[in-house]
Symmetry: C2
Subunit: 291 residues, 2 copies
């Protein structure tokens, strides 16, 4: 019986730049709970198929932050790109301590597959965002099979890891203010300890710097970082990604932006550069000049 | 002693499209309470003065909705336009019943000067948005004295009324899904009864349709309305504005948009048209084509 696995409940839809911003609930078998995700379908999806940009959000976010704050639909509508925004953790569960802190448990799935009890029975966000939700998307929406991935902070980490673990899977990857080295920053150590246990050898498969060093993928990385970001020096440390990419000859386009912080005002300011980058790699033609 | 009247407390600032999105608290003498407002200062404000677009928000909103959801900063930064977003009512007060309903009292000031007790001692949002806050803005920010006004729903009503009551005050006025005839719709009747009393003769000074009929102003009106708006037939009724403008030879550019609803997804979809309209009337040069 696959009906529960693949049925979608439409929660809301808004006409937006000639396309549709929609929100769905579905049963996730991977996460063993009900989940909500958002999808922007550009006008081009009315008549044909479109590529998908996956957007992974950061700590405390849901499917809604990017949708309401990033202002991405304007250009996505012109480019002909769908954008899917998953939630950031399993929901509706009540594991011990799950809701006690902003940086672990609910709202903080870190896009890994947990191995430690009790998290392993739900916190498999990597499989959810790379396998289950893409399959659901292909089954229900007019997508053409080409995909790119981006995200912010914890979601930037997620985007980099998803792409670096699967060479060729995404046509492009980018990130805003990503956690590039979770093995060695407070947020990451807390999350990886909890979800994967104390044996750090298992953490390398979920660390962008370690993945670059491993040489699994040669996909270029495009990263934007604000220099007024409160988390820059303790949690994000883009210089580490820069260093490991330099050492291993991995192409990294890292832009540092004076005065920009960690907020969605930063993301909104540069999202169009990312959309155009992904569009180019997704085989979309450049949009008309006036937007 | 004017120090309390004119001092501003900076609550937050975010670099955004090369400019600054800021949020301030100040003491309002007119409203007899502390108020918060938001201002977007485009990059051009670093080196010179810029015109101001006033944005009046709708029921239940604060200074934040437009700032986070409309995506207006992108084009405002290119045009060189500041945008000031006031709150939608006095705050921090606790009048009888003030917080009991979404469409009266807090979050629902309707941009009128109340005459009825107990509202008259605080609910003077018209004076606040047309006099006190503009004076504060001119005192504290590099603005050039030229102003335009727009808003959504209750704020669309506010924008139309502020402009129609003061010929020549604003270089342009526009509205999204405005309440055009509050004298004769449920939201408006509730608000005007409460703030102004049951004598309806006093309501005409706060009703866009009545103001057009009065002939005080000949300023053209630019209005966007979504046809999937849940409030279209009971509360908004743009055909009434259309009719009175037609009867009185008042220029109205009313656009009806199939499938668009009352949300900020509708506003985001068309805000650039409004920004360009205001920019033209504010004496700004057209922005470069690529945005």
């Amino acid at each position: 019986m696959h009906s529960d696995q693949t049925s979608l409940e439409l929660l809301s839809q808004h006409h937006c730049f000639g396309g549709w911003q929609k929100r769905y609930r579905h049963r996730s078998e991977v996460l063993n709970c009900e989940m909500i995700f958002a999808i922007y379908l550009p006008p081009q999806a009315e008549k044909g198929t479109v590529p998908v940009l996956w957007w992974l959000s950061g700590l405390t976010c849901t499917d809604e932050n990017f949708v309401t704050k990033a202002g991405a639909q304007r250009l996505a509508a012109r480019l002909g790109m769908a954008i899917v925004c998953p939630d950031t953790s399993p929901r509706g569960t009540d594991l011990p301590g799950e809701h006690d802190s902003y940086d672990f448990g609910s709202g903080a799935g870190f896009y890994v597959n947990a191995t430690e009890a009790p998290w392993a029975s739900h916190y498999r966000m990597y499989d959810y965002v790379t396998t289950e939700l893409p399959a659901l998307t292909r089954a229900h929406f007019p997508v053409n099979g080409r995909e790119a991935i981006s995200g912010h902070s914890m979601g930037g980490h997620g985007a980099l890891v998803c792409a670096l673990k699967q060479p060729g899977r995404y046509d492009a990857v980018s990130a805003f203010a990503p956690i590039v080295n979770p093995m060695d920053c407070p947020w990451g150590i807390k999350a990886l300890s909890g979800y994967l246990g104390e044996d750090r050898s298992g953490w390398q498969a979920w660390d962008a710097c370690a993945l670059v060093a491993s040489g699994i993928s040669t996909q270029p990385l495009f990263v934007d970082q604000g220099l007024a970001d409160n988390f820059l020096t303790e949690q994000l440390r883009p210089e580490r990604l820069e260093q490991v990419c330099h050492e291993h000859g991995h192409t990294l386009h890292l832009r540092r932006h004076a005065d920009y912080d960690h907020s969605y005002f930063f993301i909104a300011s540069f999202i169009n550069d990312h959309l155009r980058y992904h569009a180019r790699h997704l085989g979309l033609t450049p949009e008309p000049a006036d937007a």
